[in-house]
Amino acid sequence: MTPLLEINQLNATVEGRQILKGLSLTVHAGEVHAIMGPNGSGKSTLASILSGRPGYEVTGGSAALDGEDLLGMKPEDRARKGLFLAFQYPVEIPGVNSTYFLKAALNEVRKARGLPELDALEFLEFIKAKMKVLELDPSLLNRPVNEGFSGGEKKRNEIFQMAILEPRLAILDETDSGLDIDALRIVAEGVNRLRKPDNAQVVITHYQRLLDYIVPDYVHVLHDGRIVKSGGKELAYELERRGYDWLTSEARPVSPELTTA
């Protein structure tokens, strides 16, 4: 079976600095993967590169979605093919109404999937249920995208967008940070309800607590631009207990790239 996401020996630089150093990861449909790792290890960089953010240079390796090369695709085409990134820092878009934005995005994605576009009424009907699941304040929809949203509202809004776009592969970059305890549970439940046999989720987090709610099939540790350890969900507990030191010192000798300045 073709994996949903296949990353092979990915190398990438930002402003001349190498951040990803031969990263490989395979995700099959129906799976949930967690990526953990110290600050600055390259987790958000990986998410950015997969979603096509300008400013990163891929210097080697490959990434494919459903067997199709991702790295040559425009960001909008990746989204239309079913890739979704819940941003670590969602962007405020002054003046662009949330409802208008969501409808535009949904219809683009539907068009790409060969589905008819929804008109205004159908759209409102469609999002009503999703809003309930995430307990989103409906008044946010009348405001410009993310503008003046609280940190938690922004994160919840990301998952709301995910619920609307129903991606095949969702990458959640520290969606739990900034959420209060209730919000964490609500958002996690929202994410779990979106889980289907034909889609997959990659959850980037620093905290094992999130993984109590969104239970991963695999946990990976990203350190200095590559995956240095993979395991089952029990690895997260171990990391919680022991931190990263034992892994990084173990990893250091076997990574020749580390000797570059």
Partner: protein, 463 residues
């Protein structure tokens, strides 16, 4: 501390053109209208004679090359005999979408058959100026030339010298004008100039909305030199919209001068998308306490267009507020100029004045000159200003794209949002919707293949 405020150029001899043209104009039109008008016109031409066209080095005209304007014809256009295909195809807001008193002017001359005034309440006046000069001469006399300072502005002086027609809106105390007034100025003949004059008087507590729209027939260069005077009595509210959509060859000078009395509000909107060279002078004067003025504007430029706004919020009395928001979108090699003055006179304590000018540059060759000018003689005031010039926020572009929205559309959405901030302040809904739509269409073309804002060709026109 400065002791004088001067807006005048050092006198430069007036070119013979306008003076000769005035003699011919006098022969043709001088006898028409009341005697006082003749005196007013004569004072207009003599002030113009003193002022001349502003010199290129004049501070107020540093960017808008006045010689281009000076080289043009000065003679007012004769009454045209072209057939105008109908307002519907020329105006941004078709008849069905806006219930308004509509007065149409072709090359400065009133076109009664294309115009329509809705029923009015007693003493309310919505008419063309020529008719008002004939039938309500003394009413017009008490207001005409009182707000526009033709002693200090060459173009206002020229407009006064050639004053012949335009619009007169008069509201007696306490009455609201139920429907907006829509004035459509069509420039139809190349190489001629029109000097339309608009006079809006709202007495105590009256309210009105007046939209001026300037368009061209065809692609040839016209020259419009328009002056609008607004008098807002105590507690009155006047919303004034200026839509400049002339063709990309035209020259346009537009002056708006408002005098405000106690507790009045004037909302001035200027949307300028057309003309090769457009210069707008918009002045609000707060003569008495408690006034509020809004200076709101949106300008777009493409190709070689130049669009220049010089605004003044003149706080002459205490407890007045001015709020200014101007947004510019410039592409191609176009240039934008924004010069926003705030005067706070010695007596104008407790003034609250805000000004922002934001600009988006869509190309590397587009430029903008922005300059706030605060001159403050009072000590207990709140004045803020800010100007930005920049490109689109690429993080925002990426965010939209990451949700499946194509790049061009993402950019249009963001630029549209930027423009909508100003468009959204206009109180005429039909107009807002049309402006948003036109802007989107312009952006679609501009981001694909740059050029000036397209002007729809009126159907069935043969020239």
């Amino acid at each position: 501390m400065k002791s004088t405020l001067t807006h005048t150029a050092p006198a430069k001899p007036a070119p013979p053109g306008p003076l000769e043209a005035f003699e011919r104009f006098e022969k043709r039109a001088g006898h028409a209208g009341p005697p006082w008008l003749r005196a007013l016109r004569t004072s207009g031409i003599s002030y113009f004679g003193e002022l001349g066209f502003p010199a290129a080095h004049h501070e107020d005209w540093r960017f808008t090359t006045p010689s281009v304007l000076a080289e043009r014809a000065y003679a007012p256009a004769p009454r045209p005999d072209v057939q105008i295909p109908g307002v519907a195809s020329l105006s941004l807001v078709p008849d069905g979408e806006l219930e308004a008193h509509r007065l149409v002017f072709v090359d400065g001359h009133f076109a009664p058959r294309l115009s329509r005034v809705l029923p009015l309440e007693p003493e309310q006046v919505v008419t063309n100026l020529r008719e008002a000069l004939e039938f309500q001469s003394s009413l017009v006399e008490s207001f005409l030339g009182r707000a526009a300072r033709h002693e200090t502005s060459a173009f206002a002086a020229l407009n006064t010298a050639f004053l012949e027609d335009g619009a007169f809106v008069y509201l007696p105390a306490g009455r609201e004008l139920a429907a907006p007034v829509h004035l459509l100025f069509v420039s139809s003949q190349p190489g001629v100039v029109s000097h339309p004059r608009v006079l809006v008087v709202a007495r105590a507590g009256a309210r009105a909305q007046v939209i001026e729209e300037y368009v061209s027939l065809g692609e040839q260069a016209g020259f419009t030199n328009a002056v609008t005077e607004i008098a807002a009595g105590p507690g009155a509210q006047v919303e004034h919209v200026r839509l400049q959509r002339e063709n990309g060859a035209s020259l346009h000078v537009g002056t708006v001068e408002a005098r405000q009395y106690k507790d009045s509000r004037v909302l001035s909107h200027s949307v300028s998308t057309g003309a090769r060279l457009a210069r707008h002078n918009i002045h609000l004067r707060f003569e008495e306490p408690g006034c509020e003025g809004v200076l709101n504007g949106l300008y777009t430029g493409a190709g070689d267009q130049l669009v220049d706004h010089h605004t003044i919020a003149d706080h002459r009395s205490p407890h007045c507020q001015s709020h200014e928001f101007y947004h510019g979108i410039l592409s191609g090699r176009s240039r934008g100029v924004f010069n926003g003055r705030i005067y706070v006179r010695q007596d104008a304590q407790k003034t609250d004045a805000k000004q922002t000018n934001r600009n988006l540059l869509l190309s590397n060759e587009a430029t903008v000159y922005t300059k706030p000018q605060l001159e403050i003689w009072a000590d207990d005031v709140k004045c803020t200003h800010g100007a930005t010039v920049g490109q689109l926020d690429e993080n925002a572009v990426f965010y939209l794209r990451s949700r499946g929205i194509g790049e061009a559309r993402a950019r249009r959405m963001l630029i549209g949002a930027f423009a909508s901030e100003t468009i959204g302040r206009i109180g005429v809904e039909a107009l807002r919707a049309r402006l948003d739509e036109t802007l989107q269409a312009w952006l679609a073309e501009e981001l694909a293949a740059p050029g000036p804002l397209p002007l729809p060709h009126p159907p069935g026109l043969t020239t």
